[in-house]
Each structure stands twice: as C-alpha cells, then as structure tokens.
Symmetry: C2
Subunit: 82 residues, 2 copies
C-alpha cells in the first residue's frame, strides 16, 4: 500500500482570484506582511501496490493527475509517494 | 522573506464528499486500486520576516490559519516554513 500526496497549484501567470481574495482578507485582518498568496489543492490517496517506487506506479499517478485531478491548461501538479 | 506552505485537510471522521466523488470518478475511469481519497487545500504565501524560525512567526501563522484559512471545526492544518 502506497500513500500518495498530490499538490495541485495554479500555473505561474494564471490568474488566481481565490489567492488574491485570501490575500486581501489577510491584509484586512492586519496581516500586512503577507504577499504572494496562491491557493491550490492537496489530495491524499492510498494506492494498492507492492512497488511504490516502480515506474509503473509513477505512470499511473501521472495518468490520474492528467485525466482527472489537475486541469493541465491552468494547473501544475507534483506528488510524493510514501 | 519566508515561504510558508500550509496544508489544510478534513479532520478524521468528518465527511469528505469531494474526496468520495473523486474516488468514484477514479474507479469509473478504471483506477480500481485507489482508496481513501481525501481532498484538502494547499496554500503558499510569502511572509516578510527576518526570523523565519522564530516563535513569533509560528504564532502569526497559527493565528492566520485559525482566524481565516482553516475552519477548525472540520479541518486540520499543518505548515512548513522555508
């Protein structure tokens, strides 16, 4: 069993309105030292496999990210397998 | 300048309908080996500080998480400061 942690972030240069909103809200609350807020998704999942570090496992995760989890037009992803 | 990475996840025992939906979708796409999908938020932000590892910095981040970023009733958070 492998534990997979996937981080999905907006691509650089893509507007991140959610991040901008949170940044303004933090400023309004008095946290003026905050800048560059970016908001993405964090996905944890379990994968039944005997070979967590095998290339086929990585291929499988890449496939899942590209097909469903991330929108490759506007998002990047990276992951860790434990 | 410190780079802060915040991970917000649903608390254990709290329903995670988004995770369940993504899990079903992955199964429909043929990825039957996937289970235990949990979806949270991933937030990156920059903090203007000379002392990234100082307790006051940690206190500040804790405050921001509790006041705005995480809903402590249903979510947990953890963070890394770089």
């Amino acid at each position: 069993m492998a534990k997979v942690k996937i981080y999905i972030t907006p691509k650089k240069g893509v507007l991140d309105p959610q991040g901008k909103t949170v940044e303004s809200a933090l400023h309004s609350l008095g946290y003026k030292k905050v800048s560059g807020v970016h908001i993405g998704k964090y996905i944890e999942l379990d994968l039944t496999t005997d070979q967590p570090s095998h290339p086929t496992t990585k291929k499988l995760i890449d496939e899942m990210c590209k097909k469903l989890l991330a929108n490759m037009v506007i998002e990047d992803y990276r992951y860790e397998v434990e």
